[in-house]
């Protein structure tokens, strides 16, 4: 009789990051700037979402650049070329935490240049929803920002972060439910 599988055995296998990533990492490590630009294009949204989940929104674009600057400087230390997404995510979380430590306060989203981002009302509305997302636990927060702010699909989130499709589905579904509750609690139901 076969053993009862564990719940996670029903999950689809972890989405493998593109095998091409390894090649781009190797080329970037050798100084190929086009290869690094490819990695930037591929992961910038994920990194931005993670930063936005933790750090002052006003700083999110700058901190995203900082993450990639550190990645470029430290790419020689990346041990598993195929896990570049997880590595960038780790840098993004650390850069965000450092940023919070430096500022010691959340900056106001209203400080974002409206000309670059839309009207002051639009920025205010975005801030309200983002604050509700940030009230959720970290696991839901990052996944929801990737999906709702950056427009990444579930499969893209799984591929970039290395999470299983099942985990991403759970985070999105459960996260949306919790977000609705949070928005309702704040009187912000869309």
């Amino acid at each position: 009789m076969s053993a009862v599988p564990r719940p996670d055995a029903f999950e689809e296998p972890a989405a493998p990051e593109s095998a091409a990533d390894s090649s781009f990492v190797a080329r970037a490590r050798a100084g190929d700037s086009a290869a690094f630009e490819h990695l930037y294009e591929r992961y910038a949204s994920m990194v931005h979402a993670i930063v936005l989940s933790h750090a002052p929104p006003r700083d999110a674009d700058d901190l995203t650049q900082e993450v990639f600057a550190r990645a470029l400087a430290g790419i020689a230390t990346l041990r598993e070329d195929g896990r570049v997404g997880a590595w960038l995510a780790s840098i993004a979380r650390n850069v965000s935490r450092e940023s919070l430590r430096t500022r010691r306060r959340m900056s106001e989203l209203g400080e974002i240049d409206p000309a670059a981002r839309g009207s002051a009302d639009a920025i205010h509305g975005a801030r309200e929803v983002l604050e509700a997302i940030r009230a959720l636990s970290e696991a839901y927060r990052e996944t929801l920002v990737m999906r709702l702010v950056e427009g990444m699909t579930g499969p893209e989130i799984a591929e970039r972060t290395g999470m299983t499709h099942g985990s991403v589905r759970v985070h999105l579904h459960r996260g949306m439910k919790l977000l609705h509750e949070e928005l309702e609690r704040r009187g912000l139901t869309p």
Binding site: F36, A60, Q65, A73, R117, G118, A126, E150, P190
Partner: protein
């Protein structure tokens, strides 16, 4: 709610999700160009300019008494490759410059903007004086007197200073290649990873390192401490039966709550095993997520297995170990396997 639309935008759009997407759109990443590696640094072929004409009596006397060498009657002019340039001078300071292969020093006062200082030179800064030296195109260091700094090495792959005593404030570009800029002290070497920091060396060589921005490795007798923005540590030499060793406090954030800092200091300076155990428990009770790196240092450096065990449990609570990192190896293991696991955990915690 449409699961398909939420998952991959297939199927009919979900009005609630669409409304959230629209509302959050102003926050979406505005892409810029990817960062590029800094161009190879230009090795400035420094033409030695004439050093300042006016020799200040006080620094010369100080140098005479300190180095026992004869002041030169006129500034030396030479052509060497070096990249230390005096940018600012407040008060009285002087340099002792050694001719290549010679123990004879030429002593000269400094002039901002004109004085380039060669490898091997020693800077002496009097009480109240301040000298800012540009280090190649990496950044600058400011020496605050009374202080004594040696410019040990200036090459394409290493810019190294040695602070005998006094205060140095270093501000190094985040674009600088990691490990390129280093400041030694009698108890260890601060290895820059792109940052701004302050080091103070006391008369007995004890050193305090405070990181204002970025990250620093403080390498002490082969073992590094890892500090990032806001963290500090203190290293002093302590006597042992066979001589002396450099003993360091655990790196901690300077703005950590008083209780965290006090309990950690009590642990760092505890002497008996019992004191160490009780103070560690007290510190771990108050440790926050921000103290995870402090707890990691304790796990790495603690000689007593039961205390390593406590540190492991607390660190695992604050930041679960990454895959492949296990309790048995971290607490009771030794050698490269343990080192590798602890390093993996550190990278997971710190990202660099």
């Amino acid at each position: 709610m449409s699961d398909d639309y939420l998952w991959d935008r297939s199927g009919p759009p979900d009005p609630q999700i669409e409304a959230l997407e629209r509302r959050l759109a102003p926050l979406r990443l505005q892409r810029r160009a990817a960062p590029k590696a800094a161009p190879p640094r230009v090795r400035a072929r420094a033409a030695w300019l004439a050093l300042a004409a006016a020799l200040l009596a006080a620094p010369l006397l100080l140098l005479n008494s300190q180095f026992g060498r004869t002041p030169a009657p006129a500034p030396q002019v030479a052509f060497v490759e070096n990249r230390f340039v005096v940018e600012l001078l407040e008060g009285s300071a002087a340099a002792a410059i050694f001719a290549p292969g010679s123990k004879q020093a030429t002593e000269t006062s400094l002039a901002p903007g004109a004085s380039q200082i060669p490898e091997g030179a020693e800077l002496v800064c009097e009480m109240g004086a301040r000298v800012r030296v540009r280090v190649a195109d990496l950044g600058d260091v400011t020496l605050e007197g009374p202080a004594h700094l040696r410019l040990e090495r200036s090459s394409a792959d290493l810019q190294k200073l040695f602070l005998e005593r006094g205060i140095v404030r270093a501000s190094i570009s985040p674009d600088a290649k990691p490990r390129l800029f280093q400041v030694g002290t009698p108890v260890g070497t601060a290895v820059d990873m792109g940052c701004r920091y302050t080091m103070e060396v006391r008369d007995d060589g004890a050193t305090e390192l405070r990181v204002q921005l970025g990250r620093v490795h403080f390498e002490i007798e082969g073992s590094p401490l890892f500090l990032r923005s806001g963290a500090s540590c203190f290293v002093r030499r302590v006597a042992t039966k066979g001589g002396s060793i450099a003993a360091a406090t655990t790196p901690v954030y300077e703005d950590a709550p008083d209780l965290v800092r006090k309990t950690l200091a009590a642990f760092d300076f505890a002497v008996t095993h019992e004191e160490r155990a009780s103070t560690l428990k007290s510190f771990l009770t108050h440790a926050r997520f921000e103290e995870a790196v402090s707890v990691w240092h304790i796990l790495v450096r603690e000689p007593l297995a039961p205390l390593r065990s406590l540190a492991f449990d607390e660190l695992a609570r604050l930041s679960p170990p990454p895959e492949g990192v296990d309790r048995a190896t971290c607490v009771d293991g030794s050698g490269p396997a343990r080192d590798a696991q602890l390093e993996k955990w550190r990278l997971d915690l710190m990202g660099w």
